[in-house]
Amino acid sequence: MGTSESPQSPNLFHPMHELSIARNLIEMAETAARDAGASRVTRLRLELGQMSGVVSEALLFCFDVAAQGTLVEGAQLDIELLPVVVHCPACGEDSPLPSIQRFRCPRCDAPTAEIVQGRELVLASIEIED
């Protein structure tokens, strides 16, 4: 969801793609845990770009629900938010973008559409117990 749901109450009247993201995440963590001979996943670390299209509050909400009955049930989901970094074709610099409503180089103000960071949706690591 893109707009302004509070962390406590994602808007369940609209379908959320965060649920399918959460399911993917859990499936990946379960597979990795089984491969490592673990019985339980206690923590997941996710890198989430500011322009990944995923809202972290909605993902956290869906994650707890979707994890029930899996090896990931009760695990902590740590989300590291990655800001958007743009490459400027005019001055050649990479800089964090102060606002995703304005794609201009913060150094020289030239328009730039080139994102070098900020679309990530990466499961970085998991913590497991045998």
Partner: protein, 222 residues
Amino acid sequence: MAPRIVEIRRGVLEKNDRIAHELRDRFHEADVFVVNLVSSPGTGKTALLEQTLERLINRGHPAAALVGDLATENDARRLARSGAPARQIVTDGMCHLEAYLVQNHLDDWGLDLEGLDFLFIENVGNLVCPSGYDLGEDLRAVLLSVTEGEDKPEKYPTMFHSSDVAVFTKIDLAEPVEFDRDRAYESLESVRPGITVFETSAKTGAGVDEWVDWLVGRREAQ
């Protein structure tokens, strides 16, 4: 027992990306140009698509459409009137299309991709959820009607930024709704500098030929 940390470092959408990659190879092999249409509900994706399909077919460019919808098959029925093969993907409440849905429907459909010049994938009406899902398309077109508010690009920067072309729809209503054209272009340019823009009306046909010319040019350039 002490917990162990296992490094994973894998994209959560890698399965979707892999299928999208396979689809893209398949589309290129068949020489079919694929357009993913995204917008809010009610912007007029289906209406523009009806006009687009009809014109492409009249100019000798065979075209087909896959149409995503939360619950109904109405859009595919509407599109079939243009003479183009059209098939509905009912997502049963899922708010976006994923590459596996496109793949499954193409396989079931038995559509002859080799015989096509264009395939349009009309996404579910939603400006948030479809943005992260590659469907193997050559082009993502975002539609915005003049009745929706000129600052929509700034409200949904992820979707607008990830699009290759923007199409204003219902331009025949620009005057009655006092559409502020300069403000709308400014908003688009702010989140997606340099994006190509078309102004269209599916009702009067205004701008649709220019849009179709451009699509044909893009396919030829590929």
